[in-house]
C-alpha cells in the first residue's frame, strides 16, 4: 500500500441547535465528546469506519478550575495560584487574553484538542495526557498522527441547553494502526516571565478516556475527528 500523502485540511463545524444532544444533566456545565474515524487523510467525505456517538465527558481537571478562578477573581499574578503546566512545571499566571486559547494550528500538538494512548483513569490532578500522541511532521513515523488545525462552532442554544463545539482532525499516516484511548483539551496560558514580557505555556483542562475502555482504532490512511462540546443545561 502506498503511504498516504501529507495533506492537511480542516473544516469548521457549527452545530445546529436542533442537533444538540443533551447528555449533561440540568444544572450542570460539562462537555460531551464524539469520535468519528473516516477513510482517507483529512477527507471530510471519507467513508465512516468507526463512530463513538456523543458521550459525557467525565473530567474537567484542576487546571480548569484554577484558570477560571483566576479570571473570575481577577487576581494579579503576584497573588494567583500556581498552576501546573503540561510540562510539569508550575507558574503563577497573569490572567491574559490568551488564557483558555485552544486554537492551535496545523501540526501544533502543544495545545488544542489532543489524543493519546494512555489508559490510566483520570484524576483531578492530571496535568497531561498519560501518553500523548505527537504530531507526525515527517510521515510515516511510527505511533504518531498528523494534527489538523482546531476549528470552532459558534455557541447555540435550544430551550434547555447552550453549547459550542471544538473540532480537530488527526490523520494516521504512520504506516501502522494506532488505537486512541484518551483525549483531552490543552489550552494556552501566560505567565509573567520577566519584567513585562510574558511567557507562553500550556495546561490541560479536560481529560477523558475513550468510552468503552478499548479505545478507537485508527488504521493507517484513516482520520479521527474529535468533537468536544462544552454545554450548560438549565
Amino acid at each position: 500500500m502506498k503511504n498516504p500523502e501529507f495533506n492537511l485540511k480542516h473544516s469548521s463545524l457549527v452545530i445546529n441547535p436542533n442537533d444538540i444532544v443533551p447528555l449533561v444533566t440540568p444544572g450542570e456545565v460539562g462537555l460531551t465528546y464524539e469520535l468519528t474515524v473516516r477513510d482517507g487523510l483529512f477527507s471530510p467525505n471519507g467513508r465512516v469506519i468507526n463512530h463513538v456517538p456523543q458521550q459525557l465527558s467525565k473530567s474537567f481537571v484542576q487546571q480548569f478550575m484554577q484558570l477560571w478562578f483566576m479570571h473570575a477573581a481577577h487576581l494579579p499574578d503576584s497573588l494567583s495560584t500556581k498552576i501546573k503546566m503540561t510540562n510539569g512545571t508550575s507558574h503563577q499566571c497573569i490572567g491574559s487574553f490568551l488564557d483558555f486559547a485552544a486554537n492551535a494550528g496545523i501540526g501544533d500538538a502543544n495545545f488544542g484538542l489532543v489524543v493519546g494512548t494512555g489508559i490510566g483513569a483520570p484524576t483531578i490532578t492530571d496535568f497531561q495526557l498519560a501518553a500523548i500522541i505527537q504530531h507526525d511532521a515527517t510521515p510515516p513515523t511510527t505511533g504518531r498522527m498528523q494534527y489538523g488545525a482546531v476549528s470552532f462552532g459558534a455557541p447555540a442554544a435550544d430551550p434547555t441547553t447552550s453549547q459550542f463545539t471544538i473540532t480537530r482532525n488527526f490523520a494516521n499516516a504512520s504506516g501502522g494502526n494506532i488505537t486512541v484511548t484518551e483525549i483531552g483539551i490543552y489550552v494556552q496560558t501566560t505567565y509573567l516571565f520577566y519584567g513585562w514580557l510574558p511567557g507562553y505555556y500550556y495546561l490541560m483542562t479536560v481529560r477523558d478516556l475513550v468510552a468503552g475502555g478499548g479505545g478507537i482504532l485508527v488504521s493507517n490512511g484513516q482520520t479521527l475527528t474529535v468533537n468536544y462540546r462544552p454545554q450548560s443545561v438549565i
Partner: protein, 416 residues
C-alpha cells in the same frame, strides 16, 4: 465523576447577626453567556478581525472577543470572565494594558460595581439558556419598594419646537436612570396634524459600541419593550399635552445605563403626522451619570426608520414611570476559597446585600454577570468592556426585612 455542578446557598441574617434562614439548591442556570465567554477564549475569536456578537446587560448586541493585545508580540492582561467586583457605588475599570514600547491601551468604558458579579432581583419568570438580563433587577441604595408606578427620569420644561414624526421620520431621546427600576410606561408631549395613525413608543438599549455614536440603531439595539398611543388620544392644537404609552411588558432599566425612547408613526405621511415637542437648547436634560462624552444628553432624529441617526441639540419632552423593587446596600462580589482536594475542586463566589430601606424587600431570582471585552483596534481606539449575564436562577420567594442581611453564594465544583 461528573460535569461541573454549582451549589447556590442563600442565607438571611437578622440584625443581631443570627442566621434566620438558609437555603441550598443546585444552581440550574449557567446561561449561554458563560459558553460565549469560553468560546471566544478557546477560539481566540476576534484576533485578526471579526469577533463574536453577544448581548449585554442592556439588551444590546455587542462584539466580544479575546483579542486584547497589541501588535508588537506581547500578551497582556484581560478582564474577560471577571466576576469579582468592589461593593457600593462606583466603577471598576477593567484591564487596559501597556506594551513594551510604552504604548497604553486605554479602557474605554467603566462598569458599575453593582452590574458585575452576583445580581439579585424580584422577578420570577422562568429561566432560559438565553437569558441576558434579570427579570427585575434590584439595584444598590436604600430606596424602598414602590407600591405603584412613580415618575423616574423626565424632561418636561419649556418646550420650544416641534419635530415631525411620520413614516420613516423617527425621533429618539436618551435617558440614564439614576435608580434601577422596572419601567412601565412612557409619556411624551405632542400633538397631531391630520391622521398620524398609531404612535409607537419603544424602549431601546443604547448602542455603546465605540464608533457607533451611541444611537438606538435598529438591527443593533434590541427593542426592550414598547407601547402605543392611539391617534384619537392626541390633541390637534399646539403644543399639545403629555400622553401615555403603557409598555406591553414592563422593562428593567439599570441605574447608570443609557436607554432611548424611540417614537414613530409608521402610517403617518406628509400632513398626517405627530409633532413631538422638544427644547432646542443644548444640555437641557442632564443625565445623572455619565459614561462617555455624550453623557449629558442625546436627542436623535432619523429619516430612515432608525437605521441611521442625526444628533441634535436639546431634548424631547418625556416622562418615564415605573416601580423599583427596592434597593439593597450591595457589597462586593468576592471570589475566593479555591480548594483542590482530590477528587474534588471548587471555589466560592459570594455577595452580601443589606436591607436599609426601611421596608421589606422580596427576592425571587439571582444570577451572575461577568466582564467581556472588545479590542477596538489598537492603542488609539482602546478597549471596550461591558457586563454580560452568565448565570440566572430562581430562588423561591425570600423576604428580607429592614435591617436584615442577605448572603448569596455560588460554589462551582468538579469531581473527578
Amino acid at each position: 465523576m461528573s460535569a461541573l455542578k454549582t451549589t447556590l446557598t442563600i442565607e438571611r441574617f437578622g440584625r443581631s447577626g443570627r442566621l434566620l434562614e438558609q437555603r441550598k439548591q443546585l444552581s440550574r442556570s449557567f446561561t449561554i453567556g458563560l459558553l460565549e465567554g469560553l468560546y471566544v477564549a478557546h477560539g481566540q475569536i476576534g484576533y485578526g478581525g471579526g469577533g463574536y456578537i453577544a448581548v449585554n446587560l442592556d439588551g444590546v448586541k455587542t462584539i466580544i472577543d479575546a483579542s486584547v493585545r497589541d501588535n508588537v508580540n506581547n500578551a497582556y492582561g484581560s478582564s474577560n470572565l471577571r466576576i469579582g467586583s468592589p461593593g457600593s457605588i462606583g466603577c471598576i475599570e477593567p484591564v487596559g494594558y501597556e506594551n513594551n514600547n510604552g504604548g497604553v491601551y486605554h479602557q474605554k468604558q467603566q462598569i458599575l460595581n453593582a452590574d458585575l458579579g452576583i445580581l439579585i432581583g424580584a422577578g420570577s419568570a422562568a429561566v432560559t439558556p438565553t437569558d441576558r438580563r434579570m427579570t427585575q433587577l434590584i439595584g444598590h441604595g436604600q430606596r424602598p419598594p414602590d407600591v405603584a408606578p412613580v415618575m423616574f427620569e423626565n424632561y418636561t420644561d419649556s418646550d420650544t419646537d416641534d419635530y415631525v414624526i411620520r413614516g420613516t421620520n423617527w425621533g429618539a431621546q436618551a435617558f440614564i436612570p439614576y435608580t434601577t427600576h422596572q419601567l412601565t410606561s412612557i409619556w411624551i408631549k405632542g400633538w397631531r396634524t391630520g391622521s398620524c395613525g398609531v404612535t409607537t413608543v419603544a424602549l431601546y438599549g443604547s448602542d455603546e459600541v465605540a464608533g457607533a455614536n451611541h444611537t438606538p440603531t435598529v438591527g443593533t439595539c434590541n427593542v426592550l419593550g414598547s407601547g402605543t398611543i392611539d391617534e384619537a388620544t392626541w390633541g390637534t392644537v399646539s403644543p399639545g399635552a403629555l400622553q401615555e404609552a403603557v409598555l406591553t411588558t414592563p422593562v428593567d432599566v439599570i441605574a447608570g445605563h443609557r436607554y432611548f425612547i424611540v417614537v414613530s408613526c409608521p402610517t403617518g405621511s406628509g400632513g398626517n403626522q405627530l409633532q413631538w415637542r422638544y427644547n432646542s437648547t443644548a444640555y437641557v436634560y442632564e443625565m445623572p451619570l455619565m459614561t462617555n462624552a455624550y453623557g449629558l444628553q442625546i436627542r436623535d432624529t432619523s429619516n430612515d426608520s432608525g437605521a441611521s441617526w442625526t444628533r441634535n441639540n436639546g431634548a424631547f419632552l418625556f416622562q418615564e414611570f415605573g416601580q423599583s423593587a427596592g434597593e439593597f446596600q450591595i457589597g462586593g462580589t468576592e471570589v475566593y476559597n479555591l480548594v483542590i482536594s482530590d477528587p474534588t475542586g471548587s471555589f466560592d463566589i459570594r455577595r452580601t446585600f443589606f436591607n436599609a430601606c426601611g421596608q421589606t424587600i422580596t427576592v425571587n431570582e439571582c444570577g451572575i454577570a461577568h466582564v467581556q471585552q472588545h479590542d477596538l483596534g489598537g492603542a488609539a481606539q482602546g478597549i471596550q468592556a461591558q457586563a454580560f449575564m452568565c448565570a440566572h436562577d430562581l430562588t423561591g420567594t425570600i423576604t428580607i426585612d429592614d435591617g436584615q442581611l442577605l448572603v448569596v453564594k455560588y460554589t462551582p465544583s468538579i469531581t473527578v
